[in-house]
Structures are given as C-alpha cells and as structure tokens.
Symmetry: C2
DNA sequence: GGTAATTAGTTCTAACGCGAACTATTATAG
DNA sequence: CTATAATAGTTCGCGTTAGAACTAATTACC
C-alpha cells in the first residue's frame, strides 16, 4: 500500500508551495504585475534580452502562454520585441528602460519580503531541505520520462 | 543581502513542485480528468458528500473556481448537487455511483504511479523533508498574515 | 420580530496554462 | 539543388485561477 508513504509528503509539499505562492503573489501584486509577468521581468533583469525559447525554458512557461504574457508586458511598455539578427525565426525580448526601472524597484524588496520566512529555518535546515527537494525532483522527473516513454 | 539565502531554496521548491505537478498531471490526464477535477473526485471519495465550502477548504480551490469545476463534473455525471437539509444556503456535492467507480479505478493506481519517486528517498529523508516543509510553510503563512495586516 | 451583518454559491472579468494546429524560417538529406 | 524535416512564434480551444460584485438564505442585534 503506497498510500501511507506518499500522501503525507505530497500534502506537505503542496501546502508549502501553495503557502509560498500565496505570500509571494500577494506581495508581487503590490507592484502592479501578475506573478508570471514578474517572473519574466526578473528573468530579463540584468541581461541584454533573450529569445522566447530561452525565456520559456528559464521560467518554465510554455511558448503558447508566453506569447500572451509578453504581449501584455509589451502593451504596458515594459518589454520590447526585436527580430533576431542571426535567425529569422527567433524574436528577442528585452526590458525597456521603463521595464529596467521597474525591475530595480521591485526585485530586491521582494526578496527582502520573503527572506524572514526562509531565515526562520536554521542554516543546516535550508541545506537539508534543498538537498531533499532536489533528490525528490530528480526522481519525479524520472517518473515523467517513464510515462512519456511508455505511451 | 537576502538573495544568497532565499533564491536557492525558492528555486528548488518551485522546481520540485513543478516536477511533481508535471508527473502527477500527466498521469491524471490518462484518466480523462483534469487535475482539479481529479482533486475533487479524490476528496469526495469514501465520503457521503460535503458542502462547497468544505470541498473548497480541503482542496484549496476558491469558491468561484469550484462552481465551474463542479459544473463540468456534474455535466459528465460524476458528481451530483443536492440541497442541504439543514441550511438553505448550502449545496452538498457527492459522487454519483459512476463517480464512485471512477474513484475506485483511479486513486490507488495514481499513488502507485507516484510512489517510486518518493520511495527513492530514504525513510529518514522523507521525515526530514516533511518536517522542514511544514516549518517553512508556517513561516510563509506568517508572512502572508503580516502583509494582510499592514494594508 | 425586524433591520443589519454574515455566509453560501453563482456570475463576471482578466489573465494563465497546456496542447494542438498553423505559418514562416532554417537545417538536413539525397 | 530540392524535397523534407525540424524549429520559433502565434493562434486557438478548453479549462483553471483569483477576486469582486451579486443573490439568496441565515444569524445577530436591539
């Protein structure tokens, strides 16, 4: 019976992540961005821009969704699209000066808001947590691959 | 500088949860349900039904969303709404016999699919992970409350 | 007992989220 | 060189998401 082993950990993982999201999202919304928009702005911060493909793989947002998120950021003047000079299929996305200003204003304060929660764990607890999460993630990715392989 | 402390743990937490979701969701979709629908069916399994309020608080789905998810399950004949005998405002949701059959067919296999990933952690690792996740969740919930309190 | 504040669900809007079909461009094979 | 395959983004359909405004029923207060 797998239940006794799996269920408690799944529940804690889900609850913890959802608690993180609720705290993080509530703070992000104060900046006037949605969480995915914030994710994009932060990913583009301190870079010279990148392609949709790279942006998608870093943020784990699929390309179909990314088009819409970037559309809305572009409409607000925070990012700009530019044709790639090397590949006619690619589009580069980068922060506008206004987007850059927003990034500067928003990123560090957000981390500072979250930090106390993480600092409440002892140093060794954070290391432990990181290690176990990574271990579990790798195992879960193997499950995904096995499923994809079978069908 | 909060960055060095916060970012690595956040990243692992997000990646691990997303890996869990991808694995779990891909398997769930084989049953013909969406992940939130699966969540509802599993929550209603082995019960005599419950109100929207209770269903929402167990699944962490807000009431506005819940209406739509239950609508679609009801349209497929998997759950049924019934007026509460004790409170005219409440609606009870419960599995139909067909929903019950689906639950029986789908729940344990899903756990069995996920189990190997969790079993790849040693027993003590799972306990450790659970403990640290709970600790972090409680601290994050405090952050949320502080934010809500300030505004 | 009757108004006022709560509470349970529904409806609405704007934004995600994924996967599949589509267009345009680039790479590969023969 | 040309037919074919692969790749980058966009578009579309369907479902989910939170939050706010709304309706109906219940509870609390005086």
């Amino acid at each position: 019976m797998s239940r006794a082993i799996v269920v408690p950990v799944i529940r804690e993982l889900a609850r913890c992540y959802q608690a993180f999201q609720r705290a993080s999202d509530a703070h992000i919304r104060l900046s006037g961005l949605t969480p995915p928009q914030f994710d994009i702005v932060v990913t583009l911060g301190n870079t010279d821009g990148m392609t949709f493909k790279e942006l998608g793989s870093r943020t784990l947002i699929t390309k179909g969704t990314l088009t819409g998120v970037v559309d809305r950021l572009e409409a607000r003047g925070l990012v700009a699209r530019a044709a790639s000079p090397t590949d006619g299929r690619s589009t580069l996305v980068k922060l506008t000066p206004e987007g850059e200003r927003l990034f500067q204003r928003v990123f560090e304060p957000h981390l500072a808001f979250l930090a106390p929660a993480f600092e409440s764990l002892p140093e060794c607890g954070r290391k432990e947590l990181e290690k176990r999460l990574r271990q579990l993630r790798l195992a879960l990715e193997r499950r995904s691959h096995e499923l994809a392989g079978q069908e």
